[in-house]
Subunit: 412 residues, 2 copies
């Protein structure tokens, strides 16, 4: 079953390579219009999904992610339109050389081929993943959570009807309607058909994909980000950055989970930091030295270091030196986003050089690790792996490249 | 055990980030000198490996790959020196932007971290993998075949003594001395320590790595390359290209394994092609239509299509059209190297656009898919995957990147 879907996706991806950016963008515009036109059907299907999940007693936060309404459908359509308007990521000349034997070699950006996306119960991920894949010239296989299956079927039906209307291959967008565990597993191991698997969702889903997949995976998401307040920090800036990194949106991967304060500034800065955070309802888990300076914290346990709270909780530690901070980050960070607050340029340079993360910051909040904030226009997630793409994964990161070599009969 | 090696490699990779290209290149020069100085010990160890393998009755081709002599040790040392002299792949500015909020964002090439290489019984791969990894700023964990263990231990001892002499961390190069199957398996699943696993060897090893690894893998090697002789081909050029692609080195991955001939030129070109190939001792496996034109071929079986012969054997097929050739290549190729011989520019353009392979050629032999031929200076293999790197994997492809973001207190 999955193999048939894989074969269709593979065939569609080859056909897609014959269409240019104008054709792909036009299809995206038609897809946006189709979502709006079929809004009623989509909302009906979503109401059924909501009713079933309500009966199963799923939590409020889950229900909110599952919920669609007219505004959200319109937002999906607008998302498609904005992807349509982004620059073409394909056929870019990335490198070229003419060899002494006369061979002209170019490296050009090319479609990935078939992208598979496994996600949970947010139906907007369906439209969004389809749009980014199609714009990048790839066919997509979507496998959403079982709670959203009716919504997803309605959304994909609309998208496919628009594809048919546009003349592009309908199977460029396919939904796996079998929402059993086995179908996710089969998709993770659909070798020869899936060129890139992207799990979009919680830590459990991502871990399962990384562990079980035999197709190439793009690992996204987990963010244990640190704010290091150096001895030469401007305390007010440190408070601002820390507060923003923790509280502006605690549930996302680029939010900070730990504060490291240099011992030479701790007496002065820690009380200010702690008070500001407490005023913003952040629960502090401090190590012994931090609690000696600001007593009103819970004691931190070993489990707090490297913990992705995704909540208004922050681990706080006093460190002896930059090296100490670097060691802590190397040990407990997830190579997502790390920031130093300091007025010392040399210290900053050492931090930026040694910290091994997708995004390393000097005097700025970790919250900027985001496709839109980087100017990418759209993203499918934040990669925390080192292979292929790191940080925000936008359209360029959803492409591969190939070498095109032109000769006049050269042999070796 | 492997975890300890992983931890040491991880620590070494962090220390390495403090050394610049001059220091890393100097270490490589010292490593080259150490190989020459310890040549006697290395050859003694190799003689023991050879004797053991002889006793086990291993085949001649295997014994030749295992064998070291003075010339080969000198070649290893020269290899290290040439890697030392290549340009620095690190800290390259790949992209930059200044955002409206004043954040200055740079993408810079950065070390991969820890590279693991699993290989078979060629001891020169040991020195070569260590050199490329170190030059790219990464620590390396080497796991060679059990038949070469004594040679590898002697080589790695020499390399590590040179590292100690240079001041760089010795654990930047480590050998897994446990050559059990379990140690290879453990290395493939050493999550949190290994940033990139490269299997270097036969199809079995690579398949095992792709299927069993939970760390990111770079898939190299398998090459089922096609030569498509279009109806508008220059027949002499077609003969030259085909002959070179098949016979100049049949055992390598960029050698051609199949010939596709357009039906409109088959009557004229196929006899010339077949005779030239037969004169070069190539055994031809033709489909029915090919055999109707040139009778003196063995009949091709289904198994011949997509078969990596790595030998003087060639599958031959007459196709009806460019589309027919494209279909065949999509079905049976391994996305390595594919070439079209034609004087028709439009046909060539369509082929170059639609064929999904690391290297697509017009009027040239597939044998050019090679780091040196592309001007990369050195390579660790030819990637046949689409993630991260495609085609020759040189120093640049052994790096990752990170985003460095500098601000003055920006919050979101």
């Amino acid at each position: 079953m999955l193999k048939l879907i894989g074969q269709k996706a593979s065939d569609a991806s080859r056909k897609l390579s014959l269409y240019d950016n104008v054709a792909r963008s036009r299809a995206l515009q038609l897809m946006a219009a189709a979502l709006e036109k079929e809004s009623e059907k989509i909302l009906e299907a979503n109401a059924q999904d909501m009713a079933a999940s309500q009966k199963d007693g799923l939590p409020d936060a889950f229900m909110d992610r599952l919920l669609l309404n007219e505004k959200r459908v319109r937002a999906m359509a607008e998302g498609l339109r904005s992807v349509a308007e982004l620059p073409d990521p394909l056929d870019k000349l990335l490198w070229e050389t003419t060899r002494p034997n006369g061979l002209y070699i170019r490296r050009v950006s090319s479609p990935m081929g078939v992208i598979a996306v496994i996600f949970e119960a947010r139906p907007n991920v369906t439209a969004d993943s389809a749009a980014l894949s199609l714009k990048a010239g790839s066919a997509v296989i979507l496998r959403g959570g079982k709670e959203a299956i009716r919504s997803n079927m309605a959304i994909v039906a609309a998208l496919r009807s628009a594809l048919a209307q546009s003349g592009l291959p309908m199977d460029a967008v396919q939904l796996v309607e079998d929402v059993s565990r086995a179908s996710a597993q089969a998709l993770m191991t659909l070798k020869g058909y899936v060129d890139l698997l992207i799990p979009r969702g919680g830590a459990g889903l991502i871990r399962s994909a990384v562990e079980n997949a035999t197709v190439p995976v793009l690992q996204t998401g987990e963010g244990v980000c640190h704010v290091y307040v150096d001895k030469d920090a401007d305390t007010d800036m440190a408070v601002n950055v820390m507060l923003n990194a923790k509280t502006s949106r605690p549930s996302v991967c680029n939010a900070a989970e730990a504060l490291l304060v240099h011992r030479d500034i701790a007496e002065k800065a820690l009380p200010q930091l702690a008070k500001a955070l407490r005023d913003a309802n952040v629960i502090l888990h401090g190590d012994e030295r931090a609690r000696a300076i600001f007593g009103d914290m819970m004691p931190a346990t070993q489990d707090d270091w490297g913990h992705e709270f995704l909540d208004l909780i922050l681990a706080v530690k006093v460190v002896d030196s930059l090296e100490d901070a670097l060691d802590h980050i190397a040990r407990y960070g997830t190579m997502h986003s790390e920031t130093i607050v300091t007025d010392n340029k040399e210290t900053a340079a050492a931090f930026l050089k040694v910290v091994d993360a997708a995004a390393v910051y000097h005097n700025a909040s970790t919250r900027f690790t985001d496709g839109a904030e980087f100017g990418f226009g759209a993203e499918i997630g934040i990669s925390t792996q080192k292979l292929h793409a790191r940080g925000p994964v936008g359209l360029n990161e959803l492409t591969t490249y190939k070498y095109v070599i032109e000769g006049n009969g050269q042999v070796r």
